[in-house]
Amino acid sequence: MLKKLVLSLVLLIWAAPIYAVQPSEVLKDPALESRAREISKVLRCPVCQGENIDDSNAAVSKDLRLLVRERLQAGDTDTQVIDYVTDRYGEYVLFEPEKTGANLLLWYLGPGALLLALIGGFFYVRSRRNASEGPASPALSSDEEARLKELMAD
């Protein structure tokens, strides 16, 4: 039942498309507008599947886009605007996760893993440099010898 309701809601939203950024939303001041666009790209549409509010067709995204522009016109800095939105909608709407708490693990895992891998790689390469060269051609395994005998017998 709930599923059907959600589905019909989704259909309703789809059936009455409101295309991403509308001409009427665009601010007169190009500098302010381009800041608004940049901010819109890091804010996630709360009801869509992985779209930012700049690309999204949902009504709530339109409201958010207007809100962002309103705050910018009121003189907020970019950070203030983003904080304003996250205070109301939660960190879910942030596409760029905050560098706080457990998220530090997310942010520093890449560089950390690279460092570890480079250290490991260094020691591996050093060990190969000092290793002695193995026999030029590997010895035959028992079943290969059996196969060889079989071929020779043919």
């Binding site: 009427s24 992985g50 690309d55 708490g101 893993a113």
Partner: protein
């Protein structure tokens, strides 16, 4: 009747797969030749049965047999024939059937071409391949049966998601699956090698073509998907770091790492256990990708199946295969003796660096993709990880990779002199810097991104050219006689460079214009004079369209007449945008028509996207390089002749 035949063939295939999974494995363990030999006919029989099953399902879609639940839910009589056929895999059940069909295809190919493989290894490979088949056939039959009937056949079907009714997306899944599933061969070979307890150059020579083929298919599949997103979603983005995209990107990165590390095993008998581990993980990530897409656990734009029972089943399959293989690896990895000795500065070291960069980059993508899940489960935070994170965390790896690639690719095996290699590359480096500087000064706003991307891309292309020229010792006649593997390598690396240039210049120089266009009143975007001449309603086969006619002029000269569309699919009550794109070598003009406005005119979005098509052209060139390499004499010889591990490892013609 035909449906029941298809259903029956599917169940029979499971039976055959069970035999193939057990008998040759026991035979290989006990050394019973007869039991080992069961693998070949079983693999071919399993494949043929699945062909019958798949053909039956395709037949049901073609004739619109709505007594099948799947056809009813995903098809419609008005749908064009092309999309009736591609509709077979445009849904969960059908796409899983395609998955196992391709899996069986690879198994049958191994049986067919595997004549030169030692019988014990072949038996083990086929049996592992069949284990994967058993798991997924059981998954299909018990949770996602495509042949479920409806008691009363409805008059017409529900239709198919209009976004999927598109040539780009129609062929995206088969290529992707050929790639995903192709990596199962590397996995089967890896597990078989662990059971055997040995890995040598011959093994690598067998694994590498399969991996290369899988990587080529993945490259094409990903490029098709990205191209589709670009023209169909209506805002000209080409990559969204969506979980489903990441699901295909991670195996691609690992496959790229694997096909490089397998070279080291093949030529130098080093990096053996690492290569085995990569083979396991590359296929593991294919399974993770299947899990992410099929379970809908991380909801995203693409996900069209969100039934948790299926997710848990696939998770079980994933845990069994990856967990089992890793356990085996833990016990057996120690027995893989490395042989090759090399110095700190050598091709081997360069390939180790390549593998580190690709593997850590894949790890970053993986963690970014599952982080929302982890954060919610363990830290109680509901958050999102999107493009801004990946742009920052992933891009540095690609920059370092591109910087070191031409140098590493030129280094000789065993022992190299850095100074000598670098000296040869100085002209390429200087020229690349100059091209980067040119892009920087031409691009409005002097974007640093344009500079870096163009420099790196040109560096890759020119570095590859330098390498070929050096190999041929500056003689055009020898250049033609170079092995195809060399040409393939240079082509693939150049393709990467071209993609770099495309991405950098597109992101740096894209121009966007959003406005209300009045009929007949021209407006100017980036030097182009654009006029919306008329808007009319057009009836398509299963949609109605609002089609605009727009004329683009530059300096008074007509450049193009374009027709952006907005379609409504009445069966699904869903609109789609069909952007009109005019492509030339240096830029795309991209037009989207929106809704009529209250006070006349239409909302219109115009984008000028410089170098957009270079992104996919580069990907296709990469794939072409892979194909060239695949056609190298070395592999044809390896596939045809009876070569066992007695072949000396140094006698490789490519060097």
């Amino acid at each position: 009747m035909i449906n029941e035949l298809g259903h029956f063939a599917l169940i029979l295939a499971l039976g055959v797969a069970l035999v193939q999974a057990t008998v040759p494995l026991v035979g290989a363990h006990k050394g019973w030749r007869g039991w080992m030999a069961v693998g070949d006919p079983a693999a071919i029989a399993q494949f043929l049965l699945l062909v019958v099953s798949f053909a039956a399902l395709t037949h049901a879609f073609v004739v619109s047999d709505f007594s099948l639940k799947l056809v009813w839910a995903n098809s419609h009589t008005d749908k064009p024939m092309l999309y009736k056929v591609t509709g077979v895999w445009g849904n969960h059940e059908g796409s899983m059937l395609l998955w196992v069909l391709i899996l069986a295809l690879f198994g049958a190919a191994a049986a067919f071409f595997g004549g030169a493989l030692p019988p014990r290894l072949r038996a083990r490979v086929l049996s592992i391949q069949a284990w994967i088949g058993v798991a997924f056939l059981a998954f299909i039959i018990f949770t996602s049966n495509p042949f479920t009937r409806l008691t009363e056949a409805p008059f017409n079907g529900e239709g198919m998601n209009p976004l999927l009714q598109d040539p780009g997306l129609a062929f995206h899944p088969p290529f992707l699956y050929l790639g995903y599933v192709g990596l199962s061969m590397a996995f089967s070979f890896a597990v078989a090698a662990l059971l055997e307890g040995r890995v040598d150059a011959t093994w690598a020579r067998w694994v590498r073509p399969w991996t290369l083929a899988a990587w080529v298919f993945l490259t094409i599949g990903i490029a098709l998907g990205s191209w589709w997103a670009y023209y169909e979603l209506g805002w000209g983005g080409f990559w969204f770091w969506d979980p489903v995209e990441n699901a295909s990107f991670m195996p691609w990165l690992l496959a790229a790492a694997l096909l490089h590390s397998a070279i080291v095993v093949e030529k130098r008998e080093s990096l053996k256990s690492w290569t085995i581990l990569l083979s396991i993980m590359a296929f593991g990530f294919s399974l993770i990708g299947t899990f992410i897409v099929r379970s809908g656990v991380i909801t995203s734009v693409h996900s069209f199946a969100s039934d948790p029972s299926r997710g848990i089943f696939i998770l079980g399959i994933l845990a069994f295969f990856v967990g089992g293989a890793l356990t085996l690896f833990a016990f057996r990895a120690g027995s893989m003796q490395a042989k090759g000795v090399f110095s700190m500065v050598s091709r081997e070291t360069a390939l180790v660096v390549n593998n580190i960069l690709l593997a850590v980059a894949a790890l970053v993508v993986f963690v970014g993709t599952i982080w929302p899940l982890v954060a919610e489960m363990f830290f109680g935070r509901k958050l999102s990880v999107g493009a801004p994170f990946f742009d920052q965390a992933f891009t540095p790896f690609m920059i370092i990779l591109a910087l070191v690639l031409p140098i590493g690719a030129m280094m000789p095996w065993k022992r190299a002199r850095l100074g000598r290699t670098v000296r040869r590359l100085v002209p390429a480096f200087v020229l690349a810097l100059a091209i980067g500087g040119l892009a920087w000064s031409l691009e409005t706003g002097n974007s640093l991104m344009a500079l870096i991307a163009t420099f790196l891309g040109s560096w890759l292309v020119l570095g590859s050219a330098t390498e070929l020229w050096t190999r041929a010792a500056g003689s055009p006649a020898r250049l033609r006689r170079l092995p195809r593997a060399d040409w393939g390598k240079a082509t693939a690396h150049s393709g990467l460079g071209i993609t770099f240039i495309g991405i950098g210049l597109l992101l740096a120089g894209s121009v966007e214009d959003i406005r209300v266009a009045q009929l007949g009143q021209p407006f100017t975007v980036d030097g182009y004079e654009i006029t919306l001449q008329k808007v009319e309603a057009v009836q398509g086969p299963n949609y109605t369209s609002t089609t605009g006619t727009m004329v683009v002029k530059q300096d008074g000269k007509l450049i193009a007449t374009m027709h952006p569309e907005k379609r409504i699919y009445p069966v699904q009550r869903m609109p789609t945008t069909e952007a009109a794109i005019h492509t030339t070598f240096l830029r795309d003009i991209y037009l989207v028509i929106g809704d009529p406005q209250q006070d006349g005119g239409y909302a219109v979005r115009t984008y000028i996207k410089p170098f957009a098509d270079w992104i996919w052209a580069g990907a296709i060139i990469m794939a072409l390089g892979g194909l060239l390499s695949l056609s190298d004499r070395r592999y044809r010889v390896a596939a045809g002749a009876r070569k066992t591990s007695t072949a000396p490892t140094h006698a490789t013609p490519a060097e």
